[in-house]
């Protein structure tokens, strides 16, 4: 789907003001203070960040942030522009959940006695695809990788059985139709920006304007 079609598709099918989960992917330089610069773009507008992950990207030296927020399309688009405007940010993408492959990792600490005694616990863990990370006499730590609903569901399920500790990581996401950043970076490094670089996809509305 071309960018233009995609914009049109998005505008036609999504309630622009309706809130939903968006995953923002930020390619940026690895610089002290940049996380704060990005975070305040959200806090300035009193928007909560549901999840934030900062990691290496496919390119050495370039950082990749994944930020999840629950907002409307228009708001997310403006936020993406404001983030991309920051000096050390190279590129920002934002996607709905059906446009990305995403995972979160959750760890559960459960009493080993409980598992040994109650066969239901073991079944539960199998059912959720949990793997044991550490097994000690007093406790066992399980890991589950998956979507929020899955890891949440296991928390609920384990509550009756002495769930001692629980933690979940931020979301990491891969954009389904992204070809990665290698080619883009070459353009960013060129002194004269090429056509690809000056894409302003949000302006690609040419077909719709001549209605007067």
């Amino acid at each position: 789907m071309s960018t233009e079609d995609k914009i049109k598709y998005t505008e036609d099918t999504v309630d622009l003001d309706g809130k939903q989960e968006y995953t923002i992917t930020v390619y940026a330089e690895n610089r002290i203070g940049l996380l704060n610069r990005i975070a305040i773009i959200f806090s300035k507008r009193k928007i909560n960040i549901e999840s934030l992950n900062s990691s290496a990207s496919e390119i050495d030296g370039i950082h990749r942030f994944n930020i999840v927020i629950h907002e409307g399309y228009e708001v997310v688009r403006k936020l993406a522009r404001q983030i991309e405007k920051q000096i050390e940010v190279l590129k920002v993408y934002f996607n709905t959940n059906d446009e990305i492959i995403w995972q979160e990792l959750a760890l559960y600490k459960v009493s080993t006695d409980e598992i040994a005694e109650k066969v239901t616990v073991e079944r539960l863990l199998r059912q959720y695809g949990a793997s044991a990370v550490v097994i000690r006499k007093d406790y066992t730590v399980f890991a589950v990788t998956g979507h929020r609903e899955e890891t949440d569901a296991l928390v609920k399920a384990l509550e009756p059985y002495e769930l001692i500790e629980f933690v979940r990581s931020a979301r990491v996401a891969i954009i389904k139709d992204s070809a990665g950043f290698h080619e883009k970076l070459k353009e960013f490094e060129a002194e004269e920006p090429g056509e690809e670089l000056v894409e302003n996809e949000f302006l690609e509305k040419g077909g719709k304007i001549f209605t007067m």
Binding site: R77, L90, E191, V198, N200, F202, L203
Partner: protein, 583 residues
Amino acid sequence: METAQDTIQQTEAQAETSKKLFKGTGSQVLLNGLIEEGVTTIFGYPGGAIMPIYDALYDYADKLEHILVRHEQGGIHAAQGFARTSGKVGVCFATSGPGATNLVTGLADAQIDSTPLVVITGQVFAHLLGTDAFQETDVINITTPVTKWNYQVTDANEIQEVLAKAFYIAKSGRPGPVLIDITKNAQIQVEEFPEYIKCNHIRSYRPKPKVRVEYIEQAAELINAAKKPFVLFGQGVILGSAEQEFKAFIDKSGIPAAWTIMGEGAIPTSHPLNVGMLGMHGNYGPNVLTNEADVIIAIGMRFDDRVTGRLDKYAKQAKIVHLDIDPAEIDKNVKADVGVWGDCKETLPLLTNLVNENKYEDWLAVFKDYNQQEIDQVITPELYPEGEEITMGEVLRNINEICGGEAIIVTDVGQHQMVACRYAKFNNTRSNITSGGLGTMGFGLPAAIGAKYGAPDKTVIAIIGDGGFQMTPQELGTIMQFGAEVKILILNNRFLGMVRQWQQLFNDKRYSFVNITSPDFVALAKAYYIEAQMVNERENLRTALETMINHKGSYLLEVMVGRENNVFPMVPQGMSVSEIRLK
């Protein structure tokens, strides 16, 4: 064995290297860098954490002029005034802690009004960072939301590259303030430094895009089909040095053009297609007709709420063409039908080529008709009042008559600011210096000092209210010491007039803490050895203004104006631009 030839070659190679290497301190290499960037004037205030830089500055007095201000806020506003009149990057120094926090208002002002600044702050030694050391504040995090970029230098070897980036970032693309925080150890660190290289590319920063012709074509097609097109222009025209390109565009297209207060002066007031001011206290026609135009061409402006009034009733009938260098501005407040992302110095000539030569006489006549109504009901009574009290408008009329539109007018914030922007005539660009986006009271006096350094051959008049003047009066000391020839005109209505006006109109005249008393401004000026007088009566006004303007040196004139005069027209907050009130 070494031959003589080898030795000569080695010596030459060494000479070559030593020419490129400079051995000295971080402070020296910083000042050398400023000189390389063409800096001549610095506004600043010393303190403990920036002492090594000031020590180095002692030896640079012949190359770098340092103006010792009386408060860091004054320093940064002066740097803003300098940048705005000169078109260069303003430079300001301050120390750590309170010195740096005092800069925050100026940074916020420069950020929202896109003023290019490079601000250098001293910081405690790197090994003390995070220990709550004496005069330590987290300057980088405090200033992050109000800077285009900021960086903390802890090693002198970073200084040159960071300074070069700072200047490039501050002045390119959409300009803005950049802050460099330098720890004291980096200022005193001795190193061999390479030659200074200016920055012209950062891979993660795109100051301006390559212009896409298809958008220009779409824009031209809309404009050429329009019956009632209307141009709204802002400071982008001035920041892009595109005044000529802009004039060529409206001259050929024949489209009436109205300005935001930041764009005022980009074309002369007298230009026949200049139809006046937009926004809350703008002109009648431009506001009402925003909601009647069929195509609106917004150039280098950002649809601020003071310009648009109620957004859901703003220009709904019009197709919007928006030219801006900052992609984040397009579609931010008002949805554009065609967004032309680019530097208007490049996009305007392309657009001018494609638009038809045209005249919109009937459409212009509508503007003239509204203008006549405004003249009759608002402007004439303001400029030629019949009552006893002096009005702010008649002061401006007299200034126009004396200066003929050649003066630089610096304003503070409030009623006098709106009156000055409404009535001051400008022949030249970079002549209207005001705090537009942030609305910083106290901006006027220090900014006027900087404005004079930025445009030494111009008459600089600082028009300030009695409230705003009392926010930064200490800068009279800077004028006293360095002799900046600033004409200070205090329009004294013995009220915080704009707030009082709102309280009168919207809060049932409940005048809550707007009744401000003032010192004897004339005596205050004289305490600083600045010539001054006060005028209370109309018959003395003209002569007093002439005396002020013709006086050799700085001068303070206090004019007592009507206490409860209001600025009209007015688009009340939350109302549509077509609901503008004439009284």
